[in-house]
Subunit: 70 residues, 6 copies
Amino acid sequence: MRLSTRNQLTGRVTEVTVGAVMATVKVRLDGGEQVVTASITKEAVEELGLAPGVAATVLVKSTEVMLGVE
Amino acid sequence: MRLSTRNQLTGRVTEVTVGAVMATVKVRLDGGEQVVTASITKEAVEELGLAPGVAATVLVKSTEVMLGVE
Amino acid sequence: MRLSTRNQLTGRVTEVTVGAVMATVKVRLDGGEQVVTASITKEAVEELGLAPGVAATVLVKSTEVMLGVE
Amino acid sequence: MRLSTRNQLTGRVTEVTVGAVMATVKVRLDGGEQVVTASITKEAVEELGLAPGVAATVLVKSTEVMLGVE
Amino acid sequence: MRLSTRNQLTGRVTEVTVGAVMATVKVRLDGGEQVVTASITKEAVEELGLAPGVAATVLVKSTEVMLGVE
Amino acid sequence: MRLSTRNQLTGRVTEVTVGAVMATVKVRLDGGEQVVTASITKEAVEELGLAPGVAATVLVKSTEVMLGVE
């Protein structure tokens, strides 16, 4: 399926922390040292088998992105 | 100001397209070839002086991040 | 690609309105009369070839969903 | 109160899972078999009395909706 | 309808700017000088009759709120 | 850092509730009695030292703001 979602960055999971209904997953982006944190449902973590070392794509809708300048 | 926003990725603006009230800004992330698109207000583009070549930080709240696996 | 995105509803595009940088797309959900409106970039509309009659999946992250009761 | 929120879909709660501060609620949409998952605060679940069988409206801002095509 | 949406702040519209599909609306919050900007669809502006002087409630889901400290 | 984020409201933390991975923080806005609830990560609460009495800025992207009228 092709998505309208503008931002699709490739990386690899480095850390997963699971709570009662939510979880946080950290992904190191390919080609750099930058890390992205995702807050998703525990259900999604289990369904996708997310664990350290798994290759994952980070998706963010463009309307969710803010910019800052010094 | 320190922010609760988990995702703060550094990069440089490559393209700005301005509409009547909204604008899209493309930022190439440092340390890689990955590009992020932001849909922000025209007002913010003008206030921040966003234009190709300007260094910018991409900010995304962790609850806005989705993950995909092959 | 399997997605963490909890909500993936099938439907068919009924209307597309394009602005300078943003667009609105209306999708009638399968199995009912309910219609969903998406505000996405003009760029995504063009890339995906969205037009009336096209089958489309509506995706919404669960953290974006609110509930109301009478 | 009339809302700017474009998407207001009617349905019925089928499942509620409550954590320490967050909760997930599943709602089956009327006129079909499609189910929506909402991640909302535990506080909201208690205030609204959300439980299986309760009629509920699913609300989503149009800027939060993504589209996919095969 | 009672909403799960945690943030419902009362105020009054001070400015409306309409584009092809999107619009920005500024609302001064009651009991202070703080102003909120909303980016909503042109369609919603028309349906709700939003114009300077109109009393309006600002709604924001708690998962969309970030915090900063000096 | 100057931000594209349109909404930056000043206030003071009144309550913090921490779960396994998420937390809710309540902030009373300056110049009024209105309170904002933020759902952010536990990690952010700890990093920023959020606790009752701490001055905090509430940040919300304009695309996340909805409006209601009676």
